[in-house]
């Protein structure tokens, strides 16, 4: 029983050591260390200017050659239900009842092109990248379709072509990277917006513009630029006349860039790789040594017993057995008593058989 008890302590010990080695250390620096590519582009949505006309949806659909929707873009009744991005729509406008105003507010959803995107860090084949121009782009040539990027995105943005059997794609806003790179103006949605609720430009310029708008109309705007610090900063930032929470922009995400949440756990990998073989190798060597000692003890006891038995008559055998046992016991650890006894018994038995086997032969000769 005590053998196993010791083993269990070891098992429990493994748990402890694993806990130390694999521990997700508390995030050392919670805010972003990465300032972002200096000249990157971004977008600014002014929620107070959005009238929910869906022009941006239509423009996006056309620009990205997405399939025609069931209800035409002129039909505003779709605003009555909450929608999200889909594989057929990189952007959708939702209507919100808000605390700040009796009028409903509208906001366009799309990829926020985060400074340090969760989706990019989550992709195990680097199919997603944050370009230094600003857009976060997906690569059709690499994606395996594990959809971990969709799990990771805190804004529920990436979508998947579940109905495409042979080459399903991750679909999301590209900030019209191709169009912009060609020098063909701004992203389609920004060009289509009749109220200039969407502005395209260098992110640094957009931040200045946003600040300026808040400064000149402090009574109108909430004094915060959403995306300045959220999840380490967004490429697409927002200002609003109503609380951000009310237009579906969660304010509880914190300022930590999402890749940081898994970074420390990944940093523990080399620790385990180095530490574990050493610890386990040590335990193994220890166990081997103990085994060798036990074996030696057992063999000595057996040898002694055989010796004694051979020399003495059968009548004395019991006595010898006791003696051998005692000798063995003094050498062996207490818990080995039983094993030794078994070995001795067996040896005795064999010796006896041997003797009785040999006896007639001797007699015959």
């Amino acid at each position: 029983m005590s053998i196993s008890r010791r083993g269990f302590l070891k098992i429990a010990g493994i748990g402890g050591a694993g806990a130390i080695a694999g521990a997700a250390l508390p995030a050392a620096a919670s805010e972003s260390d990465f300032e972002g590519y200096p000249d990157r582009y971004g977008m600014l949505t002014d929620v107070s200017k959005c009238i929910g006309c869906r022009s941006c949806e239509a423009a996006c659909n056309k620009q990205n050659k997405l399939p025609k929707p069931e209800t035409p873009f002129e039909d505003l009744s779709v605003l009555d239900t909450k929608r999200r991005t889909t594989a057929q729509a990189y952007t959708v406008v939702n209507k919100y009842n808000t605390r700040g105003s009796s009028e409903p507010a509208f906001r366009k959803l799309q990829c926020n092109h985060c400074n340090e995107p969760a989706c990019v860090s989550a992709c195990f084949v680097k199919a997603l990248t944050k370009t230094k121009e600003g857009p976060v782009l997906w690569n059709d040539k690499l994606c395996v379709g594990c959809r971990y990027c969709m799990i990771a995105c805190p804004f529920y943005i990436p979508t998947y072509e579940y109905d495409n059997a042979f080459s399903p794609r991750v679909m999301k806003c590209t900030m019209c990277a191709d169009k912009v790179a060609k020098g063909d103006g701004a992203p389609a949605c920004a060009e289509a917006c009749p109220t200039e609720a969407i502005t395209f430009g260098k992110r640094s310029d957009l931040m200045a513009l946003a600040r300026e708008r808040i400064r000149t109309a402090p009574d109108k705007y909430i004094d915060h630029i959403y995306g300045e610090t959220e999840v380490g900063g967004l490429g697409w930032v927002y200002i609003s006349h109503v609380p951000f929470d009310d237009v579906g922009l969660p304010t509880n995400l914190g300022g930590t860039p999402y890749p940081k949440f898994t970074k420390n756990a990944l940093a523990a990998v080399p620790m385990i790789v180095v530490l574990w073989p050493v610890v386990l190798g040590g335990v193994y060597a220890f166990a081997r040594r103990r085994e060798a000692i036990d074996k030696q003890t057992r063999e000595n006891a057996v040898a002694n017993a055989i010796e004694t038995t051979r020399a003495d008559t059968q009548a004395k055998a019991d006595q010898a057995r006791e003696a051998a046992l005692k000798r063995a016991a003094s050498q062996a650890e207490n818990e080995k008593k039983k094993a030794v006894k078994e070995a001795v018994d067996k040896a005795l038995e064999e010796a006896k058989q041997q003797q009785s086997g040999e006896a007639p032969k001797e007699g015959g000769a």
């Binding site: 053998i3 269990f8 997700a24 199919a127 395996v144 594990c146 969660p250 385990i272």
Partner: protein, 387 residues
């Protein structure tokens, strides 16, 4: 196994036959029609049953391989040797099915080698999981290969592999530590999507420690079942071993690990100061998991071992295994997206269930096929170990 022809219409054959009959066409349909044709997955719920069960649960339940390997080869506790081979065979088949399950789940399975040969996303926990699972499957293959080699009487190759046992075991434990825990780390990136009672920075540790519970309990559970199902094979063994003693030892170990696991889970709740959430519906569900399927089996294990009640320990192993399964489902599905309205939540489709069931059934058939032919539950007379 006599010279009489084996019966074809045994209950086992009929049930597995029916499952495969329904399941295999659905499996094919998955690849012809795409994920959307058979699953209830959507953009809010990209992970479903196949990740929660086939991958997360599969990996946890296959933890018996590294757990028993450590006990026998590294701690040198030879008395557990008789359960090593079935445990490693279970692990090998388990991980193989995890790979197959992943092939069903990812959108373009033919690209599964990409993370190794095309483009490495080192910042992704998924990369670590993929790399470790692939490597570990290889290790398990090498560990179980001697069984087939003995069967084929390929002595030389078999002896080389047996010599590598210790190295393979240590490598296997390193890989298991890494990926068992990183399956938990995978969810570290969604602090905003998982209910705070299940989300914790300790997730990797929780997953690793609970994998030991799953490993120990699965070996009890599975070896007890094998003992019943393959009685004729085991009884034919000239050197019978004391199965009950093994069960008791493993039960005791499991009780201790579970107690520790319960402790660190409590620390997690205290750390986040989430006590008040215990009185919510999610909190009650959390208590069901923690008390009903951790504390109670922990206590029952201890009780069974103390009272020498083998039956109780065997029954408890089922509870404990179920508890780990429940935990994986809770993290991946139940507590995930907990703030979304019911209409945007996920529930697996019938066809998803069937695919998972088909894979498990295929695994059972393979297990049966192997143990009735190869020296898994018994020792090969020509390769009997001297100990």
């Amino acid at each position: 196994m006599d010279n009489a022809k084996p019966k074809l219409f045994t209950p086992f054959n009929v049930i597995t036959g029916l499952i495969l009959l329904v399941g295999i066409p659905i499996c094919l349909y998955r690849f012809m029609g795409g994920l959307g044709a058979v699953t209830n997955l959507d953009n809010n719920n990209p992970f479903g049953l196949w990740i929660a069960f086939d991958v997360l649960t599969g990996v946890a339940l296959a933890a018996g391989g590294y757990t028993i390997g450590t006990i026998v080869y590294i701690f040198g506790m030879k008395e557990y040797h008789p359960v090593v081979r079935p445990a490693i065979l279970t692990a090998f088949l388990g991980y193989f099915l995890v790979g197959v399950g992943l092939a069903f789940d990812v959108g373009r399975p033919w690209r599964m080698p990409y993370p190794f040969f095309m483009s490495q996303g080192f910042t992704s926990v998924m990369f670590e999981v993929a790399a470790c699972v692939a490597l570990y499957l290889t290790v398990l293959f090498l560990e179980i290969a001697p069984v087939a080699l003995e069967w084929l009487r390929m002595k030389a190759l078999r002896n080389i592999l047996v010599k590598a046992t210790i190295g393979l075991t240590i490598f296997g434990v390193v890989l298991s530590t890494l990926h068992q825990s990183s399956l938990g780390s995978m969810f570290l990136i969604v602090p905003n999507k998982i209910h705070p009672l299940w989300y914790s920075t300790f997730l990797p540790i929780y997953f690793f420690v609970s994998s030991m519970i799953a490993g120990l309990s699965m070996v009890i559970f599975e070896s007890s079942l094998s003992h019943k199902a393959f009685k004729n094979i085991i009884d034919a063994e000239p050197h019978p071993f004391d199965h009950d003693k093994i069960v008791m030892g493993l039960g005791k170990a499991a009780a201790i690990v579970m107690f520790g696991y319960f402790g660190i889970k409590v620390i997690g709740v205290a750390h986040g100061n989430h006590w008040h959430m215990l009185a919510t519906p999610y909190g009650l569900w959390f208590l069901v998991e923690m008390v009903g399927f951790v504390l109670v089996p922990c206590f029952l294990y201890a009780l069974g071992v103390r009272a020498g009640n083998v039956k109780l320990v065997k029954f408890t192993s089922f509870l404990a295994v179920f508890g780990v399964v429940l935990n994986r489902f809770n993290v991946c599905l139940v507590a995930f997206n907990w703030e979304l309205p019911m209409s945007e939540r996920y529930f697996p489709s019938f066809m998803e269930f069937m695919v998972s069931l088909t894979l498990v059934t295929a695994g059972l058939v393979a297990f049966k096929w192997i143990v009735t032919r190869m020296p898994v539950l018994t020792e090969h007379p020509e390769f009997r170990e001297s100990h």
